[in-house]
């Protein structure tokens, strides 16, 4: 059964130096507050896993939390580069960053295989492209019926998954709606999981019989962090901080502006800051 913890306790419960972590979110529900807490706790040598690493991983990489990135698209969506990621890859600052690069299809399948407790995933992909030349984890199997050769990727089984969701009920069940990405798979594939939520409710109320729900017994810890996805968004709660995504390009471009921003907005802040960001972008009820 999921335990209700503070964000700081939750991060302590699931993250330790050197572990692998998937902090997932496909534009929607990115667990920013949890990333900031990991930075405040000074986690090191993490393997960061995510299909679409964006600002929160740029911040963690720039603050020296990561030694490896497993990913399929690393950019600031609609804006441009992740400058801290590029600085690590191109110049080894603040430390060298190993890359394990896949396509979206490969990573989505690898999470799915992890959730399904399979050692690998099979998919039709990587035909004619160069990625298999630089990623030795990309292999193949031959269909025992048709002889077709298909691509394979090892299942993703992170030490920890961290996601942000809309609601938890008092039993610790978790509800996601809207663009749900690979979060359910990431949690089911991981050894431990932390879910930050907008709201804790007595009952989820009226819902579709097939809503995307993670039962309490699949989740390690839940922390109530309103606004915890900002500058990403939470469907029905608050809008995406598009202006911040644009502003980040300038903040992150130089090491010193980045460091100053992190000090003022992460190291010297707590999770309650997120409630204020979200309040300002609240969706009309």
């Amino acid at each position: 059964m999921a335990e209700f913890l503070s964000l700081a306790q939750g991060i302590e419960a699931v993250l330790s130096d050197g572990c692998s972590v998937a902090m997932e979110g496909f534009t929607h529900l990115i667990p920013h507050a949890a990333g900031h807490e990991a930075i405040r706790q000074g986690r090191k040598r993490l393997t960061l896993i995510r299909m679409t690493p964006d600002l929160v991983y740029d911040q963690m990489i720039g603050m020296g939390c990561a030694e490896k990135l497993v990913f399929s698209w690393g950019g600031n969506p609609g804006v441009g580069s992740l400058h801290r990621l590029r600085d690590a890859v191109e110049n080894g600052w603040p430390n060298k960053l190993e890359l394990e690069e896949h396509s979206h299809a490969a990573m989505a399948n690898a999470y799915e295989a992890g959730a399904a407790n399979l050692p690998f995933a099979v998919f039709r992909g990587y035909k004619g492209v160069d990625l298999p030349k630089v990623n030795p984890k990309i292999k193949s199997v031959t269909c025992p019926y048709t002889g077709e050769v298909l691509a394979t990727v090892p299942a993703l089984r992170p030490d920890a998954a961290i996601i942000h969701a809309l609601k938890a009920d008092r039993e610790g069940n978790v509800l996601l709606e809207g663009i749900v990405g690979v979060q359910k798979e990431a949690v089911l594939a991981a050894k431990r999981s932390l879910v930050t939520v907008e709201e804790i409710v007595d009952d989820f109320g009226e819902r579709n019989a097939n809503a995307v729900i993670l039962p309490s017994w699949t989740v390690t810890a839940i922390a109530h962090v309103p606004g915890g996805a900002y500058p990403s968004y939470a469907h029905g709660y608050y809008k995406r901080g598009n202006d911040f995504y644009i502003a980040w390009d300038k903040i992150a471009r130089e090491r010193d502006t980045f460091a100053a921003w992190m000090k003022a907005n992460v190291l010297e802040q707590g999770p309650e800051a997120f409630a204020r960001y979200a309040e300002a972008r609240k969706v009309a009820a």
Binding site: G75, A108, Y245
Partner: protein, 256 residues
């Protein structure tokens, strides 16, 4: 009514789309083109974004691939693994849109890296959905602005496969889809030559010369036997497109 080269590119791409298409839409020019088609001559076109939104009808353009607007106006939204398994690999997409940092004469694309992979000069975002979009959609439309740093002689890295080293390469790899059939740029429209699969200019946008197009391409660019002129955007096309952009700016509070 005067128009920008980007508007011409968007309009030219939109015109290629019909009600029967199921499009896998990327952010930026493809999204504008697909929604322009939907708001003009192809109201029943089916638009899918890789974040999981099926048959979506946004009233403003999304800034990210997973904007709430896409989900709010979708028929339904599926998980990302399902999107890549049942919908893209499932062979349900007729047209995939791609762009890239670099393209070669056989419409292979690079969005991964400039320089050696292990010691890159410029680290680009990576492939994302592109490798499997390129192989699993019925056909591929590419939209890119021309320039010699983009239209290059040789790619440092093949992120997604077009026609390889020429005609027949897709078949040799067992890929059953058509691959890139149109490249829509800010200056012209290209198609792979039916004999060689090399990209060939088939129409020039109004006022654009062969020399201008050739100057935007690092390889010796071929022209089709008959090169037509792309009809300029109509007043209605421009009105609808500019309205869409204005609504988008208003909704997002930022330039779009």
């Amino acid at each position: 009514m005067s128009h920008t080269p980007t508007e011409m590119m968007t309009v030219a791409a939109a015109r290629l789309l019909t009600n029967d298409e199921v499009c896998f839409v990327g952010i930026g020019a493809p999204s504008a083109a697909c929604n322009l088609a939907r708001l003009t001559h192809a109201p029943k076109i089916t638009l899918i974004y890789e974040s999981g939104t099926l048959s979506t009808r946004p009233s403003v353009l999304p800034l990210s691939i997973g904007d709430g607007e896409l989900c709010d106006t979708a028929l339904t939204t599926v998980s990302v693994p399902e999107m890549f398994r049942y919908w893209l690999q499932g062979g349900r997409i007729t047209i995939g849109f791609l762009g890239g940092a670099q393209i070669d004469r056989f419409a292979n694309l690079n969005t991964t890296v400039v320089g050696p992979y292990d010691a890159p000069k410029v680290r680009l975002p990576g492939g994302g959905g592109a490798p499997e979009i390129a192989s699993n959609c019925g056909q591929i439309f590419i939209t890119m602005a021309m320039g010699t740093r983009a239209f290059v002689e040789k790619l440092p890295f093949i992120t997604s496969f077009g026609h390889g080293t020429g005609k027949g390469d897709r078949e040799k790899l067992g890929v059953r889809t058509k691959g890139p059939t149109k490249v829509i740029t800010d200056l012209c429209v290209m198609e792979p030559d039916s004999e060689t699969s090399e990209l060939t200019v088939v129409s020039l946008h109004p006022g654009v010369t062969r020399e201008q197009v050739a100057a935007g391409c690092a390889w010796p660019l071929r022209f089709a036997e008959t090169v037509s002129e792309t009809p300029p955007p109509t007043a209605q096309e421009l009105d609808v497109l500019r309205d869409l952009h204005a609504r988008t700016r208003k909704a997002h509070g930022v330039a779009a």
